[in-house]
Structures are given as C-alpha cells and as structure tokens.
C-alpha cells in the first residue's frame, strides 16, 4: 500500500467513524428508529478486506452491522443515512432500515438480520459466479457468534465441496450481544473451526488496517484463483454497545480501555504522522471537513427527503406485471 492509499484510507475510515457517531446522535434525537448497530472500533476489518478486493466488482454481503461495509462497497452515504431516516430516497427506499442496506448497483448484496443467514446466500452467489464464469468473488462478513449457527457449518461444507469463490471474513469482536465468546463457544480461535472442512484460514489483528489488508490480499488471491473458499478471522472490538438498546454493562472498563488504545483510525493516523506524511493539523482539517460533509450533505439530504407514500405500502412484495404469473400470456 503506498502513502497516497494510506492517506485515502485514513480519510475513509475517519469518515466511517464520524458517520456512525452521527447515527448515534440521530438515534438519541429519535430521528432513527428500530435497531441500530454501530461499527465503531471495527473499521479496519471492512476497509482492509475490501481494499484488497474489488468493491463494485466483487459481491459483498453482511449482517445487520452493515452501514460501513455498504459505504466502502460504493454506496452513497447520503442514501444510507436516508435509509436510516426511513426516507423514500434511502438505499432500500425506507423499507429496509439500518439492518437492511442494499446497493445492488455496487454489488452490495445486503445486510441481513438473522444471525448466520448470509452464510449460504454468499455461497449461492459464488455458485452463480462460477456458473457464469466470471472472476468475481463473494465476500461475506459476519460476527464470531454467527459461527455457532448451523448455516455456518452447512455453508462451509458446501463451499468447499463445490470449491466456490467465497471469502468468509469473521469479525471476531469477542461478543455476541452480551455473551463473551468463551461462554458460548467451545473453540475460541474461530479460524481453527474451519479446518474440519478443509478450508484454508488465517487469524489476523483486526485493528491494524495494513495487516488486515495484507492478510486479505492473500485470501482474495486464493479465492479469485479458483482454489475455493477461504476463511479469515479478524480480532477486533466494538466500541459501542451491541445496539443502541444495549447497556454495555457486561464489559470491564479495563478491557474497554485496552481496546481503545488500539483504535484502528488513531493507529493509522499516528503511523502517518510519525512517518512525516501528515501533520496533526492535516488530520484536524480532514476531520473538520468530514464533519461538515456529514452535516451539510449527508444529514441534510436525509432530513430533506420525503417519506415513502402509504399508497405504495404493498409495492415490492411480488414482481410487478410478470407475464409468467399468468401463464406467459395476458
């Protein structure tokens, strides 16, 4: 990764952080409803991996903690925010919400709220890619606790059995809501669990975007070369509660402090400052610019957008005017 890329990544990651923190405020102001799961602290995972893949070309799918993945995949942050504001201009026209961001044009194939639900969907998209003969890969980001679902095992088995081009990225933030991994999971190192399916895997520091990038490059290369699936485990931490309704009382201050010293945005910033590539003032200016952009463009767009019309409540349930519903004719 060259210096220009690192600077760009710093800006993108800082943008993601500020975006998520602004969502927090909007939720407190009751502008955003429902469940809201924030990604703060885990940015290096999505950015490192997708930097190594080809967003817009490769398919990306993830869980309900999906805003940042969508944006890195190419979604317009204004449309993502408008979705959280439940507006017609939102990425899912206000029908999806925070947990269901979609941007199919950029091949962001969705956020899904059933823990473990995307495992087989990702394998299926990879099957489609393989049938059509393209060089795309499918990148599926899910949490550590999702690996205790049957879909994890069923999908890994099929992905390897048919050597499908899918990269499974486990964002191991050590918790499934309030249950720490050692209280729910017999094998703590998630990358070891996939050896039973003969799938190559690795574990990497998920706070250091450069390390994630390097590990992901290897993983992406493997998958794109047609050798079948790969599993990459990234050790990370979320700074907020599981969702906005989470008191976050189950984690110790010591643990939180330890992980806040390994903030992915700050780590990259300090590295660039030490190398003399940017100054503290550069960073501050960048931050101000980002905050302005979020306020003046992203939030302003969401605030000024219309809500969906009640007359269109039943749109998008089934295909419209599909001749095959009527036997091909009519």
């Amino acid at each position: 990764m060259n210096v220009a890329d690192k600077k760009r990544l710093l800006r993108e990651m800082l943008f993601a952080r500020r975006f998520e923190e602004r969502c927090y405020e909007a939720y407190v102001e009751r502008k955003i409803g429902g469940f809201l799961h924030l990604y703060s602290g885990e940015e290096a995972c999505a950015f490192g991996v997708l930097e190594a893949a080809k967003p817009g070309h490769d398919y990306v799918v993830t869980s309900y903690r999906d805003h940042v993945h969508a944006i890195k995949a190419g979604a317009d942050p204004r449309k993502v925010m408008a979705e959280l504001y439940a507006r017609e201009t939102g990425s899912s026209k206000g029908r999806g919400g925070s947990m269901h961001i979609f941007d199919v044009e950029h091949r962001f194939m969705g956020g899904y709220a059933l823990v473990g639900g995307p495992f087989p969907l990702a394998a299926g998209m990879a099957k489609a890619v393989k049938m059509k003969g393209g060089d795309e890969i499918v990148v599926c980001f899910l949490g550590d606790a999702a690996n205790n679902q049957g879909t994890f095992h069923e999908s890994l088995n099929m992905a390897k059995l048919w050597d499908l081009p899918v990269l499974y990225v486990c964002e191991n933030n050590l918790y499934g809501i309030g249950t720490r991994i050692d209280r729910s999971t017999a094998v703590i190192d998630q990358y070891k669990r996939v050896s039973g399916y003969n799938i190559p895997s690795a574990q990497e520091d998920g706070q250091d975007v450069e390390k994630v990038y390097q590990a992901a490059q290897k993983a992406v290369k493997h998958v794109r070369s047609g050798k079948g699936p790969y599993f990459l485990e990234l050790m990370t931490y979320r700074y907020r509660g599981h969702s906005m309704s989470d008191s976050n009382a189950y984690r110790s201050k010591t643990e939180e402090r330890m992980w806040s010293r390994r903030d992915p945005v700050i780590m990259l910033r300090d590295r660039l400052i030490e190398a003399g590539e940017i100054t503290r003032d550069d960073y501050k200016n960048m931050d101000t610019e980002i905050l302005d952009e979020i306020e003046n463009e992203v939030i302003a767009f969401a605030e000024s957008s219309p809500e969906p019309r009640v007359e269109e409540l039943e749109k998008y349930i089934l295909a419209e005017n599909d001749p095959w519903v009527y036997g091909g004719g009519r």
Binding site: P120, M158, W324
Partner: protein, 326 residues
C-alpha cells in the same frame, strides 16, 4: 394429448426448462445420480451434468439458502426438498431471505427460486413424515404457493414457476406421483394465480386443492347419483395469492360452501377460504360454510388410526348431506 404420470409431467417440465435456459439448475438430496426419490429428475444428471443437477448434502436450510443466493444473480434453481417435514428446516431461508428480499431491498433484489416438496399423509409413515404444511407457507408475504392436483397442473405450474421472478413454493403429495392424467403435447404454462372449476354444479361449492380435489370429485359423483345434489368442485391450485374472485363467484352461484383440506383445521386453508366468503359474500349464503379437515393429531402409525385422522370422500358426502338435511 398424452396421458402421463404426475412424476413424468414434473420430469418433462424440468427437462424442458433446463434445455431452454442454461441458468436453470436443480438441487436436492438424491436428485442427481440416484434420479430423485419421486423420479421427478430422472435422467437429468446424465443429460446436464453435476454443475446443474446437484446432489446436495442433507442441509435443507443451507442448500435452500444457497439456491436463494444463486437466484439473486439470475440463476433459476429448482430445489427439491424430499418431504415437507424436512422443509421445516428450510423455513428460515425461504421466509426470511427469499420472501422478504425484494421488499426489504426496496425492489433491488429478487429471489426467483422454486422449492418443490412432497407433503401429505401417505401409508403409515408416522408422525414425522406425514405433515401437511401448505397452511404455513401460504401465510408468508412475498412467497407464491401453488399445489397441483393433476399431471397437467404439475407440468404447467412448474414451468411457470421457473420463469416467474418470485419465489414459488410447490406443494406436491407423496401419494400422487403415480397419478395419471392428460398433459398437452405442446409446451404449456399454467397460471400461478386463479382457480379451476373441476366440475360444474349448482347446489353447493366444494373447495379442494391438491389431493382433496379428488375427494371432492368423488363425493360430487356420489352426491349427484344418490342424492340428486349437484356439487361444483373448485380446484384451488393457487393458495397464495389465493383466488378471492373465483371463490366468491362460485358461492354466488351455489350459496353453499364446504372446504375440504387434508390438513388440520386450525389456521388452515378452510379457515382462510371461509373468512374470504364471510368478508365478500356473507349474505349470499343459505347456510353456514363448513370445513372437512383432518383431526388435529400427530399422524399415528397404526393404519386404522391414521385413516381416522384424515378425511376422505365419504366424509365430504356426509357433510353435504347433513347440510341439505338428507
């Protein structure tokens, strides 16, 4: 027009659709090398190869989800789930992913998958192989549910389901694969909505679907010959969306309604059809509409008990006779 068996009709539909579109694939347990539990995919493995005729591991939710994911990118999977009892395991992916993705993506994604499964009570298969669960599927917005009562419908509904852009669940029946019937020689696409008048009549409407259409037809013959009652039999091959207009127009004609279902009564097809009648044409009724349904019991192994749990043509005759005080 040739007479063929239900399974042959399904096989023909699979074959034609696979020949027509290289993105049509078939998935399921034992459907490839072994030729399929019900022979619906016989010979396809040799013809189209393992990339398109896929023997899956026994992972119903997993392979259904995989098929759904493939359908996001334009592949058209026909997924066979050996028995509806096993389809319970795939409800998560079918309901949470396939049925909802168009809506929750604001129309960006669709899941044109077909899931076929054999339901019904066969011969002493016991509680865990005798479920009738169409009632569960038909309550899910975003999912189409059809259930063929004869080889012509089995053929034509599958063909339309493959081409339609919505997820379609096809409810088949363990006992019907060897049923014979006429299927057009030329290509035929059956509508996925509507209903058919299987027998015209003026005195009472018998609503059936899948196997119960046959009980209704048998009952109608007896009612006509022995009691002079002319029953109209409506074949509800589409359970979701269900044909409200068709139901109403028959009731307006006969003013009496009996719904015949192989499943247990609670929250079922009968409940739904009678609710529609009440909502749309209550004052057309001469008498209270009735349900002929299964006893609400885990299906027993013992043959006598099993038969007692499931309705038959005699039960339909009995119910209609009472309705007419005969």
């Amino acid at each position: 027009m040739a007479e063929i068996m239900y399974w042959e009709a399904l096989r023909r539909a699979h074959d034609e659709e696979m020949a027509n579109d290289p993105l049509v694939i078939v998935m399921g347990e034992d459907i490839g090398v072994a030729g399929g539990t019900y022979k619906a995919t016989q010979g396809l493995f040799d013809k189209y190869g393992p990339e398109r005729v896929i023997d899956t591991p026994i992972s119903e939710n997993g392979y259904t989800g995989l098929g759904i994911g493939a359908s996001f990118l334009g592949v058209r999977p026909i997924i066979e789930i050996m028995s509806v009892n096993f389809a319970w395991l795939a409800m998560d992916q079918l309901f949470n992913s396939a049925a909802k993705v168009r809506y929750m993506s604001g129309g960006q994604l669709q899941a044109p998958v077909v899931v076929r499964s054999a339901g019904g009570t066969a011969h002493q298969l016991g509680a865990q192989h005798s479920a009738r669960m169409e009632k569960v599927f038909m309550g899910i917005a975003g999912l189409r549910v059809v259930t063929p009562s004869n080889p012509r419908q089995a053929y034509g509904l599958l063909k339309s389901a493959v081409r339609c852009n919505d997820p379609v669940y096809i409810n088949e029946h363990e006992l019907m694969y060897n049923l014979k019937g006429e299927v057009p020689d030329e290509e035929y696409f059956h509508p996925l909505v509507g209903s058919e008048v299987a027998r015209e009549g003026s005195d009472v409407s018998l609503f059936g679907y899948n196997i119960s259409v046959h009980w209704c037809l048998q009952a109608a013959e007896t009612l006509s010959k022995q009691f002079g009652i002319e029953a109209e039999v409506i074949d509800l091959y589409a359970l979701s969306p269900i044909d409200r207009a068709g139901i109403v127009s028959s009731v307006r004609k006969t003013h009496r309604a009996v719904v015949v279902e192989e499943a247990e009564a609670p929250v079922g097809v009968g409940a739904e059809v009678i609710a529609i009648i009440n909502e749309e044409c209550f004052f057309e009724l001469d008498t209270a509409p009735q349900r002929v349904s299964a006893v609400n019991v885990p299906i027993p192994y013992n043959h006598t008990l099993e038969k007692a749990a499931i309705p038959n043509a005699g039960d339909v005759v009995e119910r209609v006779r009472r309705m007419f005080g005969k």
